[in-house]
Structures are given as C-alpha cells and as structure tokens.
Subunit: 212 residues, 2 copies
C-alpha cells in the first residue's frame, strides 16, 4: 500500500514544525525542499527528528558529480533519510548522489518525469524511460513521477520493477489519489494538507483515501 508523504513546503520553521507535528500520526514520511532549508537551515532535520518519520530532502540536485557528492554528504550529515536528485543531468551525477546516500545508509530517488508545462521541452518522449533505466543502473532506490499522469507511471513501473515510485501532484495539482494509489509506493501531498484549515484532518482524510 502506498504511504502518504507530506510535502512540507512552508518557509517558516515554527510553522513547519507545528504542521509536521499535527500531521505525523497520519503520514509515512516528510518531504522538505530548498525553500524551507534555505530559510531555516539544514538543522530543520534535527527539529523534526523527534517525530520519528523519514525525512526526504527534495533538492532536485542537478550539478556535476563532485558537487552532488558534497551536497548529499551534507544532507545526510544533517539527519535526512533520503535525497531526490535530477536524472536529466546524467548518470554520473545520479551515481554520485546514490553512492553518497548509501554510504550514509540513506536512500536516493531520481526525478524521471516532471509535470509543469516547460518540462515538455526537454523531457521528450523516451527521456523519462531512459532516465529511469539509468537510475536503476546507478542503483537508485526509486524514481519520482507525476501522479497527474497514471498512464506514464505505469510505463515507468515496467522499468523500475520493485524499486519505489514516489508521486507528487495529488491535491492542488489535480492528481486523483484513487487513480494513483495502487500504482506507486508513496503519494506526495503538499498544499492540500499544509494550506488546509485543519492540516491534521486533511492528512487523515488523504491517508484514509489511500487505504480505500
């Protein structure tokens, strides 16, 4: 069964800690991006550690291998459990993140496909499949693919097999949780939870939707 991952895309430390705390009973992991880390520092991982949930650094790392290694080492040194990197900059850059993650007993996920309009320019047909295949060669723990396109997720599942697929796009971006739940390992929800009047209740409802 897919687990619910909270995309904690707020930029205030106190708000992040409060929302994460109230949603914790209903979620399986927390995904944190650069906006929160730049605002609050990598130490946000230490602040969220007491919740006992895996913390995924969604940094879409997209640099040369040596810089990717430095970034990944810092991320795991700060207490994160997983990192997300871009696959489109090349397999050696991906491998740098994977190897650093595994040295720290952490995980690395690779962005195979994105759903914003501009992504169509260079993530041309076949590119996500190639990125996913390269990610498997680099021994990544899984890929990121959009929940808004279940048919694409199915195609990528054929490539990654039993490794994990985490999917953003449910909620504010229009992805249907029932259409995607059976296809992926993690469903990432952001705004529809953290902008809700009652984030805990929203998280509880998404978690329930994942089970039914």
């Amino acid at each position: 069964m897919a687990e619910l991952i909270l995309a904690l895309d707020v930029v205030k430390r106190d708000e992040a800690i409060s929302i994460a705390g109230s949603c914790a009973p209903h979620i399986g992991a927390i995904k944190i991006g650069y906006p929160l880390v730049l605002a609050a520092g990598l130490s946000i991982a230490r602040d969220l550690k007491p919740l006992g949930l895996p913390l995924i650094a969604d940094f879409k790392v997209a640099d040369i291998p040596n810089t990717n290694t430095l970034i990944t080492d810092l991320v795991f040194g700060a207490g994160f459990s997983a990192i997300i990197c871009q696959g489109i900059v090349g397999t050696d850059s991906v491998r740098a993140c994977v190897q650093a993650a595994h040295r720290h007993n952490g995980e690395c996920y690779v962005v195979a496909e994105m759903s914003h309009p501009g992504a169509k320019e260079f993530f041309v047909p076949g590119t996500p499949e190639q990125i996913a295949a390269n990610a498997m060669i680099a021994k990544a723990d899984g890929i990121i693919a959009p929940a808004t396109r279940p048919e694409r997720v199915k195609a990528l599942r054929g490539i990654v097999g039993k490794r994990k697929i985490l999917s953003p796009g449910v909620g504010a971006q229009g992805g249907d949780i029932h259409a995607i739940a059976g296809l992926v390992d993690g469903v990432i929800v952001g705004r529809a939870i953290y902008e809700a009047k009652d984030p805990a209740k929203a998280a509880q409802e998404f978690a329930r939707d994942l089970r039914t």
Copy 2:
C-alpha cells in the same frame, strides 16, 4: 575584457571568508554553491558583503516554477546579486528565476551546457542552443557554458549576442584561459585558486592571464 570569478567551493565558513578576503583585490565576483550555503547558511552572503563584490548563487535551480520563485526570492533576500538556474527543466522554470531576480534588481544566468561526461546523455546536439535561445526569450542575463570547449562557446555566442557568457572549467578541469578569455564575459576558477598554497597569488596570476 572577461572578469575573473572565484568559485568559492569550500564548505567551512571561516575558510571561505578568509580566502575570499585575500583574493578580493584580484577578482570581479564570487560564485557560491549549495555545499557552502548548506554548511554555513545563506547568511554567508552577509559575511562576504563587506568585500563589495557581486555574489553569484550557483544553485543550478531545477524545480517547478513556483519552487524556483521561492528559492530565488530567498537568495536575493539574503543579499546575493545573481543566481544560476538549470535551463533543461524548461523555460517556465527559467522565467520564474529570471522574474524573481529582476524584481530584486539582480541577475539570472542559465546553464546551457555542462562538461561532465554524463551531461552528454541528455544535453544532446542542439540542446544547448535551444536552452540558450529559450533563456534569451525568458530575458535571462546570460548563460553558463564550459571553458573547456571554446568552439561550443563560440556557437552559443551567436545565440546570446551581447548578453553574458560565464565559463567554468579553467584550471583544475583543464580549460585554457587564453583560449577562452576573449570569448566570454566571466571566467570562473575554483580549485586552482582556493586549493593553491597562496590563493591571493594564484588569483592575481589568473587575473593577469586574463589581461594578456
């Protein structure tokens, strides 16, 4: 004449401040990546501000437009003067960085081509040209292209015209400063300066090479 840009790729705040200070008389700008910012915080910009040099955040931003905007706003809010984003994730993502940079009276540069081996996989022939053209449409202030491939820089100059080209790859990566100096607006040097026994002397020599 091209200016010398120091890639300050160390991960200790004190070392960064010390090296930047000693090299300041010989350089035109300082480029800072995620490793230093993750280790020292965005406040490193405030620490380097007294040097009076432009500070370029080389974050190779590679996310969806909304996240790119959030990242760029934080970067300029911290006192940086320019940001570097990836062009391969799409023109809307680039435009988000450009518009946020310009709102803060800052600059945005777009990675058009990379020189690590894995870059060949998806930066296929024609892709750097398309990224550069898209960057111009998005009103970026310039592009990043490798000093190790002067013939490629020439091809991209034909697209960007009078907008700027900044080139990494001189020094440790083997780029010839004399071959690239006349083709670009900024030559980025990292290890060959900050790992030198006397970084100030190394910076002075690179600056002299740029003039001759």
